[in-house]
Subunit: 266 residues, 2 copies
DNA sequence: CGAAATTTTGATCACGTTCAACTTCAGTGG
DNA sequence: CCACTGAAGTTGAACGTGATCAAAATTTCG
């Protein structure tokens, strides 16, 4: 559905259809879980988006050490936030999935502390931090939603610290697979017990602080133990309970934003 | 200075003095770096704070798995956010310093994914998430500031993932010391090249995913190489450049919140 | 001052890295 | 369509780092 037909429908007042358009958008889906968005809310949000961009696999979206001041809402595709170290090693700090925001946290600190690279072709909706901030002044709801998203992000990072810090290699892997699955389910991009794993073993090993051979062995072991199955990039949890038990996995579920009883000035 | 004298001064219109009171507050200091706070802003902020609490060392402030819906602004003292694993190991996810917010991110997800324990006596200013959200509706600036704080938090976590994932033990330690120092400097609680290290080696080893003996050896090595000196809980950087070089340290400096040219309704 | 917590040192060993070779797969141009 | 190329996945052997366990020394605190 293109821009023109969208405007036509709005003109016709077919608000039902407008909401439908947004319903598939993974970013809007995430926001909807935090609090209700009215039609005017959605229109305002739409207004701050400058362009929609498609980006090719392997392109860097953010560069470590440079200023970045955009918010890019991921409509489709995957990316990895990473840092290259002196010794040539790479640590992937987290994976960027549909519904995530490139520029969080890069755009909120004076210069990005990590790079972001597309690991598949992607489509992004771009908006300047400035105009999003302006939106937050007009509609405070968006400021709160941004806080909630950032807090969710922080919670995911926290789990990742636990992964690399104290979990055994096999636990880390199990945890990563479950986390990605849960996040994909949240934006309607995964089945109940399976999903298309968009990452190579090298990416996963750099995320989990393991060597590629060892990650491979752990993956083999999960298969051997009958917990998962992988064919043609599709990962299936054969024994989901066992995997969750192994990883001690608890999904990060955002709380809803409290609605004040009365909004009064002071 | 107590509540009564504060009110008296406000009544007298001695606004200068009121701002002075807040100037020492580490949380307000952090907010001030993100954007300007007017006197009415500060008064509104003050109004949402329910009580000031003092908490004894070793007390748990947040419990893994339970709902938590307060924001606690740390006025003084230190805490650690951690998770206990099945095997009895503990991973400290980050340290909570003056000016930080207990409840970020715990209060933003349905149930806390980590516990928080006081590692020294602390004094906290408590506010319910609900009333803070209400404040954000009245004064959108606070919603933005909350987002910026959460993003900063995320950026710190990201560095921590890199620490435990790919940095060598000695690099991790150097990085941790520099990070804590930088964060303390930001709230006026550290000298240029020294600070009171409030954490035991056990805490630091659990933060860095190392064993206590190994952390101890790395600490010894940093001393032996003439990079740092420690006496009576005070850590001094003898050769700050060398430590920064070793850790590849870049401090997380928050960007300022953009001020929209014109705030118009849509 | 006594008890507990914390720091320091040493010896052994397992886990996961490293390096290398090989296989399989996907994409591209002849 | 197949041959070619580079990327991704798989397997094995040897090595080294940091964990583990234990005990002593030191500091902190009730």
């Amino acid at each position: 559905m293109n821009d023109l037909s969208l405007r036509t429908m709005v003109a016709r007042g077919s608000t039902r259809a407008l909401k439908d358009i947004w319903r598939d958008d993974p970013f809007v889906m995430r926001l909807q879980k935090l609090g209700d968005l009215t039609l005017p809310d959605l229109q305002s949000l739409r207004a701050v988006i400058e362009t929609e961009l498609t980006v090719k696999k392997r392109r860097d979206l953010v560069l470590d050490g440079y200023e970045f001041c955009k918010l890019c809402f991921v409509k489709s595709g995957f990316a990895a936030r990473y840092k290259l170290l002196r010794n040539g090693k790479r640590q992937i700090v987290n994976f960027v999935l549909p519904g995530d925001v490139v520029g969080l946290p890069s755009s909120f600190i004076d210069r990005a502390a990590a790079s972001v690279v597309a690991v598949s072709d992607m489509t992004l909706q771009i908006c300047s931090l400035e105009s999003f901030a302006a939106l937050c002044y007009r509609r405070p709801k968006f400021g709160l939603m941004l806080s909630w998203l950032a807090a969710q992000e922080a919670a995911n990072y926290a789990e990742h610290v636990i992964d690399v810090g104290r979990r055994t290699p096999i636990e880390r892997l199990a945890h990563l697979l479950l986390e990605i699955h849960a996040r994909l389910v949240m934006v309607g991009k995964a089945a109940d017990n399976a999903f298309n794993l968009p990452f190579t073993q090298e990416l996963m090993s750099d995320a989990l602080g393991l060597s590629v051979p060892h990650l491979n062995r752990m993956l083999t072991r999960l298969r051997a133990e009958g917990m998962i199955a992988v064919n043609e990039r599709r990962l299936e949890f054969i024994d989901p309970k066992a995997v969750q038990q192994l990883a001690q996995f608890q999904p990060v579920r955002p709380a809803r934003i409290p609605i004040p009883d009365e909004i009064e000035l002071d």
